[in-house]
Symmetry: C2
Subunit: 356 residues, 2 copies
């Protein structure tokens, strides 16, 4: 049996989207159980519409619902112990659930998850992993905004964490991994990225296939299963891709409206356009996953519909079933036992020699 705790108050649509999603998932995964946290007045009426959930779920009333625009510090102050978000996370900590799903405010969710669950042994800081559509299928990109900056050891930890997630998601035993770097020739990238590359190459882990540096355009190409970077550039890459997709959608719409011929063409090709719109909608690729904590927390997109929230729940379920945390912890411990200070390389760090 796999037990999932649910924050039913998160997202733009709250319980009206969350509860139908749970009914869908329950019909597909007979061994799933839910602990649902939320305000009685919001959740009960929705639960009443899905009597089949009664046998597989438990509902716990919480007074507070974290708002989408609450600051993380505010949310912690007034939501600790009282909010559906906090209690859903706390259920993972106290063993009542195996994973937690919320469509709520990302900043608040990360602040509470860090505070409540703490980081895994040997991991300094958590990461948010995005599932990024590419021309082949999907890849895992992390960190997309949990931590700013990061040393080589942290990038290596992120590589191991992301690999664990990719293994579950894509069913590959030894996912391929790339470190995000810049390709302009005269600058060879950040020192910590280079050092992380050396560490990954020398460690030669059985669980991941390190393929070297990748550039921004390799994400969309699907060059590797896991793209590793620190949270500043990862967040900028994610937002830039979303912006570009929206920009092109705007161009497309304008182009299809400009002439009569184009409008006729649009009518014929409408089905194809609808498919395209789905593919282009980066925000539909659901499930930012918080990695590096003592517990699985999946952040569903705030605007997700019921299908999107169901996908996030099933991702959490799959990660529990595949023992993500245990496997990832074993890899991290192995790496740290081999490299106690995170220092594997005796080579001096060679400059580009072209400054000046």
């Amino acid at each position: 049996m796999i037990r999932i705790s649910i924050d039913a108050m998160g997202g733009d649509h709250g319980a009206g989207v969350v509860i139908p999603a749970l009914a869908t998932v329950a019909s597909r995964r007979p061994d799933i159980r839910f602990v649902i946290f939320g305000r009685e007045d919001a959740v009960r009426p929705e639960l009443a519409k899905f009597p089949e959930l009664a046998d597989v779920s438990e509902f716990v009333h919480c007074d507070v619902a974290i708002q989408m625009d609450d600051k993380p510090s505010q949310a912690l102050r007034h939501g600790r112990g009282t909010s559906s978000m906090w209690n859903a996370i706390d259920a993972v900590k106290n063993g009542q659930a195996d994973a937690c799903i919320s469509a709520g405010n990302t900043g608040a969710l990360m602040a509470m998850a860090k505070f409540c669950l703490r980081t895994m042994a040997n991991v300094d800081r958590p990461a948010i992993a995005a599932i990024w559509p590419n021309v082949r299928s999907e890849s895992v990109v992390l960190d997309v905004g949990a931590t700013i900056g990061g040393d080589a050891q942290q990038l290596v930890d992120f590589a191991i964490l992301g690999t664990g997630m990719a293994r579950v998601l894509f069913g590959v035993e030894r996912p391929t991994v790339g470190l995000l770097n810049v390709g302009v020739e005269e600058v060879k990238g950040q020192e910590e990225v280079k050092e992380a590359g050396r560490m990954l190459r020398e460690a030669d882990l059985a669980s991941l296939d390190y393929r070297g540096f990748v550039e921004g355009d390799d994400i969309g190409k699907g060059t590797v299963d896991v793209v590793v970077t620190e949270g500043f550039s990862g967040n900028i890459a994610l937002k830039t891709a979303e912006g570009t997709a929206r920009q092109i959608a705007g161009y497309l719409k304008a182009a299809m409206n400009r002439t009569l011929m184009a409008r006729i063409g649009y009518i014929f090709a409408r089905g194809a356009f609808n498919q395209l719109r789905e593919k282009m909608d980066v925000s539909r690729s659901n499930g930012g996953v918080f990695l590096g904590l003592n517990g699985i927390v999946v952040k569903s997109h705030g605007g997700a519909d019921s299908g999107g929230f169901a996908a996030a729940v099933e991702l959490g379920y799959d990660m529990v079933r595949n023992k993500l945390l245990e496997r990832v912890q074993a890899d991290i411990d192995l790496f740290h036992s081999r490299n106690p200070q995170g220092q594997t390389s005796e080579e001096p760090v060679v400059g580009t020699g072209e400054e000046g």
Copy 2:
């Protein structure tokens, strides 16, 4: 009269694209003069096709052509003094030309430009500015890969440099400026970005309208005229946007081929699709401009056609005509005279208080 030095050997197509472009520009700008550097056997036959260039250009033979895959250090070693690229840059240094245009290897061009021209007074490191299409029109994004990392003062310098370019490009007296940052709430961005924001706000320069932080998706929205960041995240943003555009073009092609109805629709809407393809092709937005050096260097895209190279030449021309360097130097000097150490703020740097 405005004199432009041309590296005729750069890019995927060399003189075959460069020389026709010069003929086009010469017909549109009667006061332009060219000094063309390249190999005799490659350039002379092309020049022979455009006799109208004889009156407005001078040709100088150079033995060496820098290859697109030469490493910057290699290029400097075998190309200094001998290559068309070096001589085109050197023409700016020795006053023979007002600006230099090359479609050659970016890394080599930057290495040579830094070595030959050196950075402007009070500027530590140069930037590469991209012209980025957005839903409104275009914006200037810098640095997209000249320098990795950078302190607050450097970001302020980039803001001033980018503003100067935007003023020429868009004809606005006081361009709007944003600092690229992350929006996830629990992390408030890099310290140097925050400090640069404080410095720009307090300086309140007459030449630029500082609008605060922007996120990755603001680039495509055209929220500000100038987006400022250091070269690592800037390069990743640029490459990610290119990758996303290519990925969506692939989806679109596949969608339009999938069903008979879609293929018929495509035939009707072909004109619209061709327009769309042009808009989506980020690489067509020509003209990476090197800023912060004692001279104007415009890098045309390596794959640019004759129209693209002509656009790069005209951009160089416009920047000279608008006295870009003088205006930007005045702003930089003004800023540095007011803030000798780049330290304007007495406020302590406040942490987010949410780590842990």
